[in-house]
Amino acid sequence: MDAILLQILNGLDKGGAYALIALGLTLVFGTLGVVNFAHGALFMLGAFCAVTLQQLLTISKRVKDESITFFDAYKETPYLEIWFGDTGKTIIDFSVPLSILLAIPVMLLIGFVMERGLIRFFYKRPHAEQILVTFGLAIVLQEVIKAQFGANPVPQAAPDFVAGSADIGLWFGLGEGLVYPWWRLIYLGFAAVVITLVFSFLQFTTYGMVVRAGMQDRETVGLLGINIQRRFTVVFGIAAVVAGLAGVMYTPILPPDYHMGMDFLVLSFVVVVVGGMGSLPGAVAAGFLLGILQSFSSMNEIKSLIPGIDQIILYLVAVVILLVRPRGLLGRRGVME
């Protein structure tokens, strides 16, 4: 029972990340009709917003280690700690949550620049060309990050008070000793909040209603005198922010490196295809579903029955879904068919 509960939580956690990335992907596809292979790079750029803020907050006074004579080795003390003592330490400790404040404007800007500067020229072009150009953009972005931050992962710590694990066994009446990391629970909650916010924006605001109308029939909305293109640009920015925030909050779980976007991109496309191209609820549902399936297939009991199932489960599900329901779980008729 304990193991099942833990794997459900793992799956939901993973699913949270998949869902956030897939949500942005499908939002861009649904509005602009663009298959954006650079979306994983936006997740990675978000994570590096956290790295950048951490590096800014920890600009340090360097005291040379005199015992080393062959090269310069330093003991570093951040200026924030020197100037503000414990308050400075606390600010550094909270660098990941604080990065959200940095990531929102930065990712919005990156989204606008990407859409206006490059992607809008490819709206009318075939999907194959869109894929090529966005994939190329993703490679350029990751190489820029590698040149600046190196190829090795850069560790990011969650704030101290949530660095440990929660005794979830007590919450569920399963006794002591059943633990789950606080930060992963926070990530799950965060993913739920962001997904709710995006859906609320699209469902309950006039702006969102117009965007949804544009997704259904862009020309008619345009004929009504609405500049639907501008709204779609904003939607692209929102998708970039969602992916970026997913990246920021994921850094304490997975020390970020330049390639993390690519690792998630393939999985997220599988999620989008399983959920149904252009379907927002489909993307979210498939994200959580595949996350949970991936977790359960990694259990030793399952692996002993079908060795290697954990490595192929996502693709197996995708094949089965595409065979029995080509438009995905909640896909609309006529999209990419």
Binding site: F70, D72, A73, A151, P155, S165, I253, M260, K303
Partner: protein, 450 residues
């Protein structure tokens, strides 16, 4: 002049000519004969050229790009020192040394570089280009055992020596060993043998271990070696689970550890996988856990300082093993750290060290053989004993082309004095403790003539 009375007969002329030829042959320098015998007989024979080229095939892109960059720095430094430039580095401390600081056999050493991308097919393509287009007499590089084994096979097929960089799988000098491949780096068996007594001392004889293992040649052999060692100590192996390479999130593999009854987690992961699995294992509270009345422990059998940086504070207190560390105080290590530090402003990694040493060892072997003819160079390296290269007295064992030397057991440092001071040496395990019979891993070296 009447020749009929002369002593100069046909027979005497032939005798004299034979004797003269014999004397000349005996008086000639050895290299003259060897060169005369081997000239044009082997691939990429530099002949009378004034320079000779070697190839450095390292990961310049991909997850190991930082390690590859460090290896390349070391290779360049080795080339400088072999050509008599710079401060000479380890050429000042290596014993016995045949190199004269004027290149190899008087030929200036030049190099070309390639990118393995840490992929076997890309590495082979790059190595083939070096051999066929650039005419390299030797190539070297590392950071993955799968890639090293693939290149070693190519070396045997093409008749060009491959000096392995960082590769830790037993298979490299075990079942997949090749006559044209040589490894200075230690291997998984040695890690196990070195760690065993330290694990026993620090954790006792009654432990239950759970392995998470990278699913490829290196992970498999490391798991096997560590299991053999710990089971001999009396430890039980609760489970050994293979994880896909580059899994990213290991949570689904770590949660079963929590209730498995295990009290030690052994991470047979390297690079990014190690950073991620260790970080996540710590987040799941494993290090704060008490099982079977003992503190839960995590062991990372293969450590690297470059990787330790990526794991941040999570590495503190974790036991592992390493081939070399810049903090060693022997003359060879100090000389290398000094040269490298002066050139680049930071200390070298263990990957850099092994790559530098391999280049110097190859050059020295050619100088000893007096020829670039690979079978002769191979014979010079086989059984070669040397010292002063940072690992104490070392031998290139002829039977499997594996170097035998001391192994370091290290621990993530609790209070680093600088950004580079991440590992403390717990014990320098003597060579005798990590030696083994080459037959245990099987494999055949193959012929000298490719």
């Amino acid at each position: 002049m009447d020749f009929s009375d002369s002593k100069l007969t046909r027979r005497s002329v032939l005798k004299g000519a034979t004797a003269l030829a014999g004397t000349a042959a005996a008086a000639s320098p050895a290299f003259f004969i060897k060169n005369a015998w081997a000239a044009g007989q082997f691939r990429n024979d530099p002949g009378n050229a004034k320079s000779v080229t070697i190839g450095f095939n390292v990961p310049q892109t991909g997850a190991y790009a930082d390690e590859g960059a460090d290896e390349l720095r070391a290779y360049k430094l080795a080339v400088q020192h072999i050509n008599g430039e710079g401060d000479g580095g380890l050429l000042n401390t290596m014993k016995p040394l045949s190199l004269k600081g004027n290149g190899i056999l008087g030929k200036k050493l030049e190099y070309v570089t390639g990118d393995t991308q840490t992929k076997s097919d890309a590495a082979r393509a790059s190595a083939k280009r070096m051999i066929e287009k650039d005419g390299v007499v030797m190539f070297s590089g590392g950071s993955s055992s799968g890639v090293a084994i693939a290149q070693q096979s190519l070396a045997q097929e093409m008749g060009v020596i491959f000096m392995c960089g960082l590769t830790h799988s037993n298979d490299t000098t075990g079942k997949d060993k090749r006559r044209y491949g040589f490894r200075h780096f230690f291997n998984a068996y040695m890690s196990g043998a070195a760690l065993g007594p330290v694990l026993e001392k620090e954790m006792g004889k009654e432990r239950r271990a759970y392995h998470l293992t990278a699913d490829y040649t290196w992970g498999w052999t490391q798991e096997e070696s560590i299991k053999n060692t710990t089971e001999k100590l009396g430890w039980q192996t609760v489970n050994a689970v293979k994880t896909p390479l580059g899994a990213g999130d290991f949570s689904q593999y770590i949660t079963p550890v929590l209730n498995s009854g295990a009290d030690v987690l052994i991470l047979n992961h390297y690079g990014k996988d190690m950073i991620n699995s260790l970080t996540q294992a710590v987040q799941f509270g494993l290090r704060d856990k008490q099982v079977n009345g003992k503190n839960f422990e995590i062991v990372v059998p293969l450590f690297s300082r470059l990787m330790a940086q990526g794991a941040g504070d999570n590495i503190k207190g974790i036991l592992g093993s390493t081939n070399w560390n810049w903090s060693l105080q022997d003359e060879g290590s100090k000389a290398f750290v000094k040269s490298f530090g002066a050139a680049y402003g930071f200390p070298p990694s263990q990957a850099a060290h092994t790559c530098y040493v391999q280049t110097v060892l190859y050059a020295n072997a050619v100088e000893m053989a007096g020829t670039f003819f690979p079978p002769e160079v191979i014979k010079s390296l086989e059984g070669f004993e040397f010292d002063g290269m940072g690992n104490g007295p070392t031998e290139y064992r002829a039977a499997d082309h594996q170097c035998f030397k001391n192994v370091l057991v290290v621990r993530g440092k609790q209070n680093p004095s600088s950004q580079f001071d991440l590992l403390e040496v717990v014990q320098e395990v003597p060579r005798s403790q990590v030696e083994y019979d080459p037959k245990i891993f099987g494999g055949e070296l193959g012929p000298y003539q490719a």
